[in-house]
């Protein structure tokens, strides 16, 4: 088992002659919630698609738990902005869909019906437990068209995490939700982080490792324990976007007041480092080298 849930090694990506990403180096430890921010068109989606395995990079390598990513696979979960639930499955079937695909086969469903039905029962029960955990126990039988955006996104989150992937990618997960729903879902991620802390305390490997793309700086700092900024505004910007910001950020528990003023300084620094076109700097100026900072890398081990 690798010490990293995700490792991106010297990743570069070009579309024809246009170089989008340049030499991205990234290591994510199990249990970290990492937010990725950056100006539109800076390559956040390209990076996400490369990690997902749908668009392999032009050069470089991506490893999840030490295993190279060549195509989308069950080590990397994904939650899209537009939910992408399966319309023909209700909430509990959507959540248990991965368990069904992963633990049963078409032939088993056809010829070993008893075995399949007993597995199915346990899958649905696990799915109901997970839905309860994300506050949706009453919506188990609802189809996606009967649910609100917030409910659908909870189901999508449960659908990804029930598979216990090495890392889950959240692509602007709350972008389509209203403010109240957004807050609820942010708190859900904070609860996941608390469970990571507990797992570390008990010597278990944390289960919720997240890489989240968002355009909301407050959300990034509030929810994540580490923020990464991708941008072309650095001295070698003509080579493509690179990581120009990589720092830990304050950890909130779900019970803490939602006070964004606590991190206003970091937000301003992040905005300047990542979004200010005029401010061209060395790409490593705001980067923490995590591999050299073991105490910070293991931060998830420290309860508040």
């Amino acid at each position: 088992m690798s010490q990293y849930a995700l490792e991106v090694k010297s990743l570069s990506h070009s579309f024809g002659n246009y170089r989008v990403l340049d030499n991205i180096q990234l290591q994510v430890y199990p249990g970290q919630i990492v937010a990725v921010v950056g100006p539109s068109g800076c390559g956040k989606s390209t990076l996400l698609k490369a990690i997902l395995g749908t668009n392999p990079p032009t050069s470089g390598e991506i490893l999840t738990d030490g295993i190279p990513v060549r195509s989308p696979n069950r080590n990397v979960g994904i939650v899209y902005q537009n939910y992408s639930l399966y319309d023909f499955l209700n909430a509990e079937q959507n959540v248990s869909f991965g368990l069904k695909l992963d633990e049963t086969s078409f032939l088993m469903r056809l010829f070993a019906i008893r075995k399949y039905l007993s597995l199915r029962k346990s899958h649905l029960s696990k799915s109901r437990d997970f839905l309860k955990q994300v506050g949706l126990e009453s919506a188990c039988g609802k189809y996606p068209h009967e649910m609100s955006g917030g409910m659908k996104q909870r189901v999508a989150v449960a659908q990804a995490f029930i598979m216990r992937p090495k890392i889950v990618l959240l692509d602007e997960p709350f972008g389509a939700l209203d403010e109240a729903m957004r807050e609820d879902l942010q708190l859900m991620l904070l609860r996941f982080y608390q469970e990571n802390l507990l797992a570390k305390q008990e010597g278990r490997r944390p289960e919720y490792t997240i890489l989240m793309v968002t355009h909301e700086l407050n959300e990034a700092i509030y929810v994540a324990d580490r923020v990464i900024g991708l941008s072309r505004f650095h001295t070698q910007g003509d080579q493509g976007a690179a990581i120009v910001y990589d720092k830990p950020c304050p950890i909130f528990s779900p019970e803490d007041p939602r006070d964004f003023s606590k991190f206003s300084e970091q937000r301003d620094e992040l905005r300047k480092a990542v979004f200010d076109e005029e401010y061209i700097k060395d790409r490593n100026k705001y980067v923490t080298f995590w591999s050299e900072l073991s105490e910070l890398a293991n931060r998830v081990a420290e309860p508040r």
Binding site: N73, R74, S84, F88, L101, Y143, A160
Partner: protein
């Protein structure tokens, strides 16, 4: 005002009124025609139509050796051809449409061919079917099958492209699905309501090809009988057959809509 609602009782009153108006005006035209020519059979009265109805259900031939009634011979021939042709046509169009939507290397060579051939009116292709498949049952079945195949393949392919997003497919991979499972568990289940709707929509055109072919070369069947009876101006049988065709159409429509509701309770039009 456009689309202003009307009370429900008025809606139903007008709907029933429309049917009554059709029946009354038909009977009046029939009476007027009978006054001109007492022996006319072109616009038979309701009494004559009832005679026609009895005629098509009457066993033919001698009492000691009665052949089945005309209607049963015809409906069995037509439904067998339609059923066989539709089954083959639907099976292959779903198979090819889904594979075209799933794999670019199947879509690339077949897409333009399917699109081109779906524009050729199947009735215009009848001489080709006669030449290639003769004029027996296999000709009728292949004609129905090929008649619906190209347009239905095109619709199924478009349904896969529009209704099954890349996100849904990529997510299925992340949930551990194999390619076969994506085709069966994601694509097939997502487009099932569209498949049922397409079958419903294709029954009409399939009947058109089939009846046209039966009128030209049939030895039995609804189309054959309509043509034979109309040649001797026995319109009381022809109109009854037309009414039965309408009822078959309505029953198929209702049956498939019910099937879609049962199989796809999640589907919202």
């Amino acid at each position: 005002m456009i689309r202003r609602t009307i009370p429900e009782w008025l809606f139903w009153l007008l709907a029933i009124g429309g049917i009554i108006a059709l029946l009354v005006s038909y009977e009046m035209v029939s009476l007027a025609q009978t006054r001109t020519n007492e022996l006319q059979t072109t616009i038979p009265s309701f009494g004559k139509l009832f005679e026609g109805l009895k005629q098509i259900f009457r066993a033919q031939g001698l009492p000691e050796n009665p052949k089945p009634a005309m209607f049963w011979v015809d409906i069995r021939a037509t439904m067998w051809r339609l059923g066989l042709g539709m089954t083959i046509g639907v099976f292959f169009s779903v198979l090819v449409g889904v594979l075209m939507g799933a794999y670019r290397w199947i879509e690339a060579p077949l897409g333009p061919v399917v699109m081109f051939l779906s524009k050729v009116p199947p009735t215009a292709m009848m001489p080709i079917y006669f030449a290639l498949a003769g004029t027996d049952q296999s000709m009728f079945a292949s004609m129905v099958a090929l008649g619906i195949f190209f347009s239905m393949t095109q619709s199924i392919y478009q349904a896969v492209c529009q209704d099954v997003t890349d996100e849904a497919i990529n997510k299925a991979y992340t949930l551990g699905a194999s390619e076969f499972e994506i085709i069966y568990e994601v694509i097939w289940k997502q487009i099932l309501p569209k498949i049922i709707d397409n079958i419903r929509l294709q029954i009409g055109p399939a009947m058109v090809f089939l009846l046209a072919a039966e009128m030209v070369v049939g030895g039995a069947g609804l189309g054959y009988q309509i043509r034979m009876q109309s040649r001797v101006l026995n319109m009381s049988v022809v109109y009854v057959y037309l009414a039965i065709l309408a009822l078959i159409g309505l029953a198929a429509e209702w049956g498939l809509a019910t099937l879609r509701r049962k199989l796809c309770p999640w589907y919202v039009d």
